[in-house]
């Protein structure tokens, strides 16, 4: 897993051409509602998930994997649902902020505990916390609706009541804006001093401590960011689907996020979105044929990537591109 490649632009490949390609990708996404309206919802889901995957990616940069980040995705979604239920006619931006803040707050509480751990403990304790929340959602059904979950009514947008199509279109473009904005932010954060200190956890905490920095605090900074990103993704997903269920925090969801992060290219923000899009497409069309063995395919594919293509899709992509330019 190469992790610091963004700090020094990959030598040799052509950054300008690559960025053009990414811009073209975003423009293409923006055109989806006109070119292929039946894909709009699917892409919307992928973008929501992609944000959560970026959350997992952040942690991978510090060499850590969380098997429970669906927790923050779900907490945010449920906060959105509760707020919509208790404040009728709530604004979209209201629940977006409430959900994200809630996820960040949960990230702080869980984070204060889990940042003491690395590796196995970190991964598994995150899983444990998500299982705890999942059980709460299932058991306290008089509040949470149990396995059936809670339906969300359509929020207003800046005070306007939108029809279904208009709201979906609004949501779609909001998702694109958030993806571009938060993706950009995260990439900048990785390159910033705070982000760099966070990433040193992967290679040497002893030195970090001897620079006068608390490794736990450095870890917490990244953990908060990752929880908040999952929170934004969760709200987008909840409003796009119109219902939240305990499945949002089920471990399979967390596994899916880790899978996509590794698929896209562990540590790469763009890879996270690329991975999420590919994943969502394949899932939608393949699970009709392979629904019974879907997880098995994911698991097998995960093994193949880890053992044979540790750079993920983005690694292959950038290598091909670098070769195309005739540089090494």
């Amino acid at each position: 897993m190469s992790s610091v490649t963004t700090t020094a632009p990959a030598t040799g490949s052509s950054p300008a051409a690559l960025s053009l390609l990414w811009i073209a990708g975003v423009v293409l996404l923006a055109a989806v509602p006109f070119l292929a309206p039946n894909l709009q919802l699917l892409v919307n889901f992928a973008l929501a998930k992609g944000l959560a995957v970026v959350g997992v990616t952040v942690l991978l940069r510090a060499g850590q994997v969380s098997f429970g980040h669906a927790l923050f995705f779900g907490i945010s979604a449920y906060i959105g649902a509760f707020v919509m239920a208790s404040v009728p006619g709530m604004d979209f931006f209201g629940i977006l902020i409430a959900g994200t803040l809630g996820a960040a707050l949960a990230g702080l509480v869980v984070g204060l505990f889990v940042v003491r751990y690395r590796g196995i403990f970190f991964g598994m304790l995150n899983l444990a916390f998500s299982m705890i929340f999942w059980s709460i959602l299932e058991k306290f059904y008089h509040i949470t609706g149990g396995a059936d979950g809670i339906r969300l009514t359509r929020p207003t947008v800046l005070g306007m009541e939108l029809g279904r199509d208009a709201f979906e279109l609004f949501l779609y473009y909001t998702a694109i804006v958030l993806v571009v904005g938060l993706g950009w932010f995260t990439i900048r954060w990785f390159a910033s001093p705070v982000g760099q200190l966070f990433q040193t956890i992967k290679t040497n905490e002893t030195r970090l401590e001897y620079l006068g920095i608390s490794p736990r605090r450095a870890m917490l900074s990244g953990y908060l960011l990752s929880a908040a990103l999952c929170g934004v993704g969760g709200i987008l997903m909840a409003t796009a689907q119109g219902v939240v269920t305990p499945e949002y925090v089920w471990w399979v969801r967390s596994a899916e996020m880790v899978f996509i992060a590794v698929l896209g290219g562990a540590g790469s923000v763009r890879g996270a979105f690329l991975g999420a899009l590919i994943y969502e497409f394949v899932r939608t069309y393949a699970s009709a044929y392979a629904g019974d063995v879907w997880q098995m395919l994911l698991g097998a594919f995960l093994l193949v990537i880890i053992l044979f293509a540790p750079g993920g899709i983005i690694g292959i992509f950038e290598r091909v591109f670098a070769r195309g330019k005739g540089t090494s």
Binding site: R116, L127, A128, M131, K139, W251, G299
Partner: protein, 301 residues
């Protein structure tokens, strides 16, 4: 809480702790020797349970005596260990011992995802229940509380035997000493001619058998459902983490704490019962980050 409910909770706790301990023992053994946390351990537990139900159901349908269920449990456990554990170590884990911990974790996680679907393909999603073994041993009455011999006596006995047996095996037998030596210093062990690859394979198969045995023994006491593997990996991790990774006796005590905590919660506040194991783990780790019996690994600089 009157005496009857108290005793019921106590017995529930003991039998539950025994089961969880057997699974956790495999997990902590593998970790102690190989430094790998096998996330797929929960699936091996589930498959052990499914395999037992199928085998027992099939053999008893042929008219065999219910008591035959017991050897079949052992057969199932060994099948799980050898047929699944063996290849997983041999084909996969062997390639990643020198890789970062995160990658190892991801690999066993991928195996977990695969095995969860394997169960569903083979056994479907409907619940199974096969309690012949439980009934075959009958009940005992203690202070007016009637409880199954299987859960109150057999399970704790098996757990205790395994604990003592494993201790003896590791400390007194040649193979056990080879394992301990490899655990302490893999390179040194190899330099004196120990085949570390075989030691790892053996350890992993043993750990997998313990997972399978846990499932086999659990099968008469519960419905067998998809998802039980996911629950068990988190639960046995909670036991192992509470004890301290790699601590064998500690796992027994942690299993008792967690088992008791959960069973008493069921009688007092059932909604939170499933949370109790995690609460215990979190509380212990807050005070002792390395677990009750673990010691902090100071990095030499």
């Amino acid at each position: 809480m009157n005496l009857t409910t108290f005793l019921l909770a106590l017995f529930d706790g003991v039998s539950y702790a025994a089961l969880v301990f057997i699974v956790a023992l495999g997990l902590t053994l593998i970790f102690g020797v190989m430094r790998i946390l096998n996330v797929a351990h929960g699936s091996l537990y589930a498959i052990g349970a499914y395999a037992t139900v199928s085998l027992v159901g099939w053999v008893l349908a042929l008219g065999a005596a219910p008591i035959l269920a017991f050897p079949l449990m052992i057969v199932s456990a060994i099948l799980v260990g050898v047929l699944i554990g063996g290849p997983v170590e041999y084909l996969l884990l062997r390639r990643i011992y020198d890789k970062p911990e995160v990658l190892q974790l991801l690999v066993t996680f991928a195996v977990f995802m695969i095995l969860e679907d394997v169960q569903r393909l083979v056994w479907g999603t409907q619940p199974y229940f096969e309690a012949q073994a439980l009934r075959a041993l009958g009940n005992v009455t203690v202070f007016g509380v009637t409880y199954t011999v299987y859960q109150l006596i057999l399970l704790p006995l098996v757990a205790l035997t395994l604990l003592v047996g494993l201790r003896f095996f590791l400390r007194r037998t040649v193979t056990g000493k080879l394992i301990t030596a490899t655990t302490e210093d893999r390179e040194a062990a190899q330099s004196i001619g120990i085949d570390a690859d075989r030691v790892f394979l053996l350890t992993f198969v043993m750990g997998a058998i313990l997972a399978g045995l846990g499932g086999a023994l659990a099968s008469p006491t519960t419905s067998i459902l998809p998802g039980m593997g996911a629950d068990m990996i988190v639960l046995s991790f909670a036991v192992v983490a509470t004890a301290g990774l790699g601590q064998i006796e500690g796992a027994a005590i942690a299993a008792l704490m967690i088992g008791m905590g959960r069973s008493f919660a069921i009688y007092i506040w059932p909604e939170v019962a499933v949370l109790v194991p995690y609460l215990i783990m979190v509380l212990v780790l807050l005070v002792r980050p390395e677990g009750l019996f673990g010691s902090p690994a100071a990095r030499k600089i």
